[in-house]
Amino acid sequence: MKRFSTLPALNLIGIAALAVALLVLAPAVLDDFRLGNLAKYCCYAMVAVGIGLAWGRGGMLVLGQGMFFGLGAYVMAFHLKLEAAGPDAIPDFMMLYGNGTMPAWWEPFRSGAFTLFMVVALPATVSTLLGLAVFKRRIKGAYFAILSQALAVAFATLIISQIEVTGGFNGLSAFTSFFGYSLYDPINQRMIFFITAGLLVAMLLVAFQLYRSRFGELLIATRDAEERVRFLGHDPANIKLVAFVIAAVMAGIGGAMFVPIVGIVSPLDIDEVASIGLIAGVALGGRATLLGPAIGALAVGYAKTSLSETFPGSWTYFQGALFVLVILFLPGGLAQLPSYLGRLRPARKQKQVPALQAEGAA
């Protein structure tokens, strides 16, 4: 425990600084359009916090977070679509692509409360089932990564193939209001930004508590020496499962907020390429740190927008180079930089973030 003694205060200050930047500074200086962009990056950052937990702390490379992001997003989109259609009416696309009737399982999504429940419950249930199946069978490492990626492909393809109920490749769009608040009104768009940024800060606080808890210690122990954790009488499968489910729920909530902000969700936002894109920010910021994933995701989101505005096509080079350079030379992400520099001055060595590789249990 000693090793972390200075970290809690630093991390809390970091969260507070990020909260001020997002909730006070950004709304003051950004115009409506850029604030909307920032809200979108915040959604990615929520997913990133979860990836940081599962991958950075738990060692599970989750290549299919797009699936959970998608579950949250589509649940929210179902509700907003019904809201746009109005009471007793059915969504426009069902008349276009289908036979003008709505399947019964869509009906409950008219209720806002049920939708909010499902935004959390659906990713949680799916990830629990999946996690039980995978971790109890001790599927891990590369196998786990490839399986999660294959599931993201399968999920996106499933959405595409069920056009009558999901809108297919086009996705769902043309929403008018968000729980009664018109989406056309800039004041409401600001409100949605505040909710999103607030949720992100809340998730960071959750992660903060988790990392300090006994569970957080066990998770790192499982990442670095799963067999030893087993010998100590813990079931690593359960520890991983909890982290995986929390990450999935965070992704789901990020997805749910993405929908009113961007105004559309389509299979391209949730497939395997989008999923791996979500990893980029986490790697850049520092996967094992508390704030690194979120800040990395915000930075990558911003870079994508601004690069694509200046040089179309250059984004691909940038993203590719980011993966290669950061992971090859700076596996701890940008958060590792201070400790890199610190290593030059041995006196400050105790400030190192938790190491990525097994240091050997002492």
Binding site: I139, G141, Y143, L151, S161, A283, V324, L328, P331
Partner: protein, 294 residues
């Protein structure tokens, strides 16, 4: 015409393509444990090699035959370069390799797009591949038969190298126990390098063959990479025969599912089936008993 016969043959065609793509992975991932997401871009490199060869030779009847070894060399050299510059630095971090090679793949795709343009390139198939062969009342396309032949040829070649040559013995020794192999004097670094060259080269051959059935574009590899990894995982790491069975099983099951449901639903169902299968056999069809692969 009999549905069973036609879908068995069509499925076998798909299976042969999958096998050809997965064979290289069976070496690099199966034998070395390296997850190379840029494998798909090595396919693309092979396909563009076929295109360039055709531009240079202009006789489409022979250009394909020249392109096959050339594609092997081009992709193999790309693989060697990747191994020496990037992968050799991260053998102890397999998951990170996945992400780094994904990044390399993105860059290679964009390079291809900038060099060759976004429009697919036309690669004409040789006239001697036109037509069909009558098999059990099914007109089997000669192009597909040719791909099956190449797949079987590559398979036999790989198996022979692994089984009968000194190199193969070194590769197997390294897979089964790296430290022990090192102790008895095997240069595991050198072995890794050659294995990676061979595995990447096979992707190049697959890429040349793919020009016969699909568009030569920069993102050619993206739709093959995930199914190919699934083949290797389902077949069992370190066992080529597992990949063979898995590739044909996936191809044939996919064909029947497409026939009775729809193309997209078939993709979903085959992927889900593989995941379910791994519940029954988490290590895949065949497993190598070793201490290093835990």
């Amino acid at each position: 015409m009999d549905v069973i016969v036609s879908q068995l043959f069509t499925g076998a065609s798909t299976g042969a393509v999958l096998l050809l793509v997965a064979l290289g992975l069976a070496l690099t991932f199966g034998q070395m444990g390296v997850i190379n997401m840029a494998h798909g871009e090595f396919l693309m490199a092979g396909a563009y090699t076929a295109y360039l060869t055709q531009q240079a030779v202009s006789n489409s009847d022979v250009s394909l035959l020249i392109a096959l070894p050339l594609g092997f060399l081009v992709a193999g050299m790309l693989g060697l370069l990747l191994e020496m510059t990037v992968i050799s630095r991260m053998y102890h971090r397999p998951l990170d390799t996945l992400l780094v090679t994904f990044g390399v793949g993105l860059i290679l795709q964009q390079v291809a797009r900038d060099v060759f343009g976004a429009q697919p390139k036309a690669v004409a198939s040789p006239t001697w591949l036109h037509g069909q062969l009558d098999l059990l009342g099914y007109g089997y396309p000669v192009t597909r038969l040719f791909i099956v032949t190449i797949a079987v040829g590559c398979l036999a070649g790989t198996a022979a190298v692994l089984k009968y040559t000194a190199l193969g013995r070194r590769i197997r020794a390294t897979v089964q126990n790296r430290d022990l192999a090192e102790t008895v004097g095997v240069s595991t670094r050198g072995t890794d390098r050659v294995t990676f060259f061979l595995g990447s080269g096979l992707a190049g051959v697959a890429g040349v063959a793919l020009t016969l059935v699909t568009a030569t574009v920069s993102n050619l590899g993206t739709s093959y990479i995930v199914p190919a990894f699934l083949v290797v995982v389902a077949g069992g790491i370190g066992q080529i025969k597992g990949s063979v069975i898995a590739a044909f099983a996936l191809g044939i099951v996919g064909a029947f599912l497409t026939y009775y449901t729809s193309g997209s639903l078939a993709t979903v169902l085959t992927f889900v089936l593989v995941v379910a299968f791994l519940q029954i056999r988490p290590q895949g069809l065949f497993t190598v008993r070793t201490r290093s692969l835990a």
